[in-house]
Point group: C2
Chain length 140, copies 2
């Protein structure tokens, strides 16, 4: 049975679902930062997913990364499955710019999270919807 | 045409090849740290690979991660495609332990690299060979 880890509940805003993964927005407006969480119970590593789910994850991750690169004119997309703190498998997708505040370092542990304002969150969702149309069922 | 980026040539030791990816060892004995590089020209993001290659990358990455988790009794495998410094697509696979020197932080930019001694490198290769038998053509 799948249930989102309480720390991910706390740190993110649920935007919607791909077929396999929940799509979450990290509540940190320093960077456009998204998290995919495969809706499968008790998995902490990608290789623990069934092969079919691994391929589905690859498709959803690539779809998201490509949409973000295009829609946000990213210089780079950083993708990572770390999980040293939250064991539930979750895959970060972070839009990076050469002039963002911590480039070229990875984002983890660098800046205090800057929560979204209501307006900024509404803007973010409105930006994402056309980019992911037909792939993500938005719940916001 | 594929050619390994000079910075990866400098920072790593080539161990061998999967079908799609070169398998490199980061020359940093602080952690068992491996890098997969798909042998395709001019690619900086996973989504830029053909779909078939994306699935092949997923299989090779999962095979490697599973072998490392088992063979090194890892507490966690950290997998990441960052590329803010070296643009050629390369995917880190780092064996992590709860008692390693920077846990639970990600490894990038934390400790100065500690090059392998000849003996430690030989031991590493001998440890890996049976774990990846039939999947990697070792060149060491």
């Amino acid at each position: 049975m799948f249930r989102l880890h309480p720390q991910l509940e706390k740190d993110t805003i649920k935007l919607g679902c791909f077929d396999l993964c929940q799509m979450l927005l990290m509540n940190d407006a320093n960077y456009p930062w998204f998290v995919l969480v495969p809706q499968r119970g008790d998995i902490s590593e990608i290789y623990q997913l069934e092969e079919q789910d691994q391929h589905k994850l690859m498709r959803e991750s690539s779809h998201l990364a490509s949409a973000l690169a295009r829609g946000f004119k990213a210089d780079k997309i950083n993708i990572a499955a770390l999980g040293n703190v939250v064991p539930q498998l979750h895959i970060h997708h972070v839009v990076r710019y050469r002039n963002d505040p911590v480039w070229p370092s990875p984002v983890w542990g660098r800046l205090p999270a800057m929560p979204y304002t209501d307006d900024a969150l509404t803007d973010m969702v409105e930006t994402l919807k056309p980019l992911l149309d037909g792939q993500v069922r938005f719940t916001r």
